[in-house]
């Protein structure tokens, strides 16, 4: 549910980074916040537990500029990946306009990726939203671990497990190094704003 302020000519969209715990959602936002600090001009808010896990969520807002005469403000959220924090995930998902699903490429995490995606679908369903209809980008994170000899899932396997029916754009990435982190973010912003424009056009026609 994007917020549109016709007076101020502002459009505010909400994008949520979703995925299993320890998958690298926070690292994605931290990388962007650090790399483009001078352009972001706002603070990233992170609420962490004693062992450095996201307890509630991370929040990073910034403006990407003026498009078609409207200032586009984007708010990024992450959700806590741990299973027990489903209530927080639901709260953060409220009013979401676009989602990045950050999957963990480690072989050991295959099951968790699938469960987390199912959980996303269920949570969206409880809000009468459909994962197939919401702007979505998949990110297969931690590809850098291959160099360290850690067994990783192949991209084909991950596509088969997670993206077979969704057919969403996907990126192999490394949030720690920064590979494809900005590309993932650019893609989701682009999809979300275009989808919003389409919705508004349909609304106007009606």
């Amino acid at each position: 549910m994007a917020l549109i302020n016709p007076k101020k000519k502002e459009v505010q969209v909400k994008i949520v980074y979703y995925g299993p715990g320890r998958g690298g959602k926070t690292t994605n936002l931290e990388y962007i916040n650090k790399k483009f600090k001078s352009r972001i001009k706002s603070e990233m808010v992170t609420v962490k537990t004693y062992n450095d896990r996201t307890l509630f969520f991370d929040f990073l807002p910034f403006d990407i500029g003026v498009i078609k005469g409207h200032t586009i403000k984007v708010q990024f959220y992450t959700v806590p990946g741990q299973v027990k924090y489903n209530a927080t995930r639901k709260l953060v998902l409220r009013g979401v306009d676009g989602i990045v699903f950050v999957a963990d490429s480690m072989e050991l995490r295959r099951e968790m990726n699938i469960r987390s995606l199912q959980n996303l679908e269920e949570n969206l369903g409880s809000m009468n939203k459909n994962l197939n209809k919401i702007p979505l980008v998949l990110q297969y994170n931690k590809r850098d671990l291959a160099k360290e000899g850690i067994p990783l899932l192949s991209i084909e396997t991950m596509e088969e497990d997670l993206n077979k029916t969704l057919n969403a754009p996907s990126f192999p990435a490394s949030a720690v190094v920064g590979d494809n982190v900005a590309e993932t973010m650019k893609k989701i912003i682009s999809l979300t704003v275009s989808s919003l424009k389409k919705k508004l056009d349909v609304g106007e026609e009606k």
């Binding site: 909400k14 001078s38 352009r39 500029g65 078609k68 973010m185 650019k186």
Partner: protein, 231 residues
């Protein structure tokens, strides 16, 4: 038509995203912005000159103000530039030009108070950048305009000069009062998030967090109890 519209939106959006996420280092990006702001400043200046020709002498035409005229010219460019962006670089050169003028006019009873106000305001804006009180930039511009008028209007009577200075000092004092009276209430991260989010209210979020913390504490206690009973 709709397709064309969609194409141009995508193109505009892609360009904005390329710009935002470009690998070009942020310093170079800032320099580029400053350069484009300067170009616009030049255009604005030409228009402003044409408008003001009747009552105020152009800085270039003022023969008695060769030295300070150059400083004023630089300050004027920076004041116009502040409409676009406030950077460390612009504010530092602003402060330097004001300091230079203060040296030249240290014996001038009318110019000196205005220069002091400019100095204070520019330091405030430099520190707070875009978070500065919106009136601060307006006040800074107004004080500069007054200063320029005093310097460049031929044969201005002392009484008129004093009246201009008093008006600006009054404006500055009123801003100072606003800034000291209403120190903004510190807002927590939660309030800040709720305020900008628009999808969750601060009250709702706080209650939710309190419940979650309570649950987490209860769970921890249960674990401890369980461990103790096992021993």
């Amino acid at each position: 038509m709709a397709k064309n519209d969609e194409f141009s939106l995508t193109q505009e959006l892609d360009e904005a995203l390329e710009d935002f996420f470009s690998e070009e280092d942020s310093k170079a990006m800032l320099d580029k912005k400053t350069a484009s702001a300067k170009t616009s400043t030049k255009k604005n200046k030409t228009v402003a000159k044409a408008d003001d020709e009747e009552s105020v002498l152009s800085l270039d035409q003022s023969s008695q103000l060769d030295v300070s005229g150059a400083n004023l010219e630089k300050i004027k460019a920076i004041v116009l530039q502040l409409e676009w962006e406030i950077t460390d670089e612009t504010m530092e050169s602003f402060i330097a030009e004001v300091e230079a003028l203060t040296q030249i006019y240290k014996g001038d009873d009318h110019a000196l108070p205005l220069l002091k106000v400019l100095d204070t305001l520019s330091r405030y804006v430099n520190k707070n950048k875009v978070k500065s009180h919106p009136e601060a930039i307006k006040c800074l511009r107004s004080v500069f305009d007054a200063l320029e008028k005093i310097f460049t209007t031929k044969g201005m009577a002392d009484k008129q000069r004093k009246s201009i200075v008093d008006t600006e000092l009054e404006r500055y004092n009123s801003l100072k009062n606003q800034l000291t009276e209403k120190a903004p209430k510190a807002t927590s991260n939660i309030e800040r998030i709720a305020k900008v989010s628009g999808t969750v209210s601060a009250k709702e979020l706080k209650q939710f967090l309190v419940d979650e913390i309570r649950k987490a504490i209860q769970e921890e206690f249960q674990k401890i109890r369980k461990e103790l009973s096992n021993h």
